[in-house]
Amino acid sequence: MISVSGKIYRQLLRLYPQAHRRDYAEQMAQLFRDQCRDAWRAKRSTGIVKLWLRVLPDVAKTSVMEQIAAIERNQIMKFINSKNAPTILLIVGLVLAASSFSQLIMPVHGLFVLVIMAASLAIFAKAIIELLQPSSEWWKTAIRTFVLMFIYAIFMPAWAKLKITGAIPNIPFSEDPEGIAIVVSLFANPIVAAIKLLQFLIQRRKN
């Protein structure tokens, strides 16, 4: 039973990352054999079963932890976590925003174009601040920035276009709660971004 358990445990070691197996698989297998031997001496088969009931959760938990640690050490993740990542997100977001502007070359509703451009630039400024002053949580801001730019780029011009073509009836603003909500959300983010930019400039001046 010790021999069989040892073989099964060796197979389970494949759940660990290769680097970890290279460094520690032999020692882990050796320790498990020692534990099997002790368990058998103490309580025979019952002892082996109890040992497996302890070891299986240990394998499940630690193999996942080691895999996550290995992914974090992976070069791709290093690149994503590097300072290049916000720039890449910004470029992708701007491309999305710019591609949506082509839907709005409508002289009548130039205001929408201006507003959307202002929103995109404000979000861009917010992301630049995070790039220059990265905090430990900058990646959350970068992702939020990207998602917001994506939403603005895709949703806002589409809504504006539907308004222009009359698919959404042109009712007065005061009777159009959806429209009000959309415009407010359109302005909210640029205002927050402008405040952040101001705070950043004041902080730099103080330093």
């Binding site: 520690y24 020692q27 882990m28 020692d34 302890r54 240990d58 932890m65």
Partner: protein
């Protein structure tokens, strides 16, 4: 574990696994099975580490330079299989001392407010 070496106090508080492994290595260099046995004995069987937890923690302790590999040799008390031995580094000893000091202060504070020890 951070790549940069911190001061012993900055490494605190230690997880139970780390504390007990460092404690096991305080009086002698040991291999993995010996560490596991020491931990089980000193905790009256409360902490029984699996191979995954033990060697995952050993890996982190090596990276933090709190322990180092000693050599590989058989344990005469067991069998003739070669086993990798580990020992505390001076930094690891300082971290362990800092943690024991922290525990001592906690016990002293508890006693001062009338909390009796078991």
């Amino acid at each position: 574990m951070p790549n940069k070496l911190l001061t012993p106090e900055e490494m605190l508080p230690l997880t139970p696994a780390i504390f007990h492994i460092l404690l096991a290595l305080a009086d002698d260099e040991r291999h993995g099975y010996s560490i596991m046995q020491h931990v089980a004995e000193t905790t009256d069987g409360q902490i029984k580490m699996g191979p995954g937890t033990l060697y995952g923690t050993i890996k982190r302790l090596l990276a933090a330079k709190m322990i180092e590999e000693s050599d590989e040799r058989p344990d005469p008390k067991l069998d003739d299989e070669r086993r990798r031995y580990y020992k505390l580094t001076p930094f690891g000893r300082k971290v362990l001392s800092a943690e024991v000091s922290r525990y001592s202060k906690m016990v002293k504070t508890a006693r001062a407010v009338g909390v009796a020890t078991a």
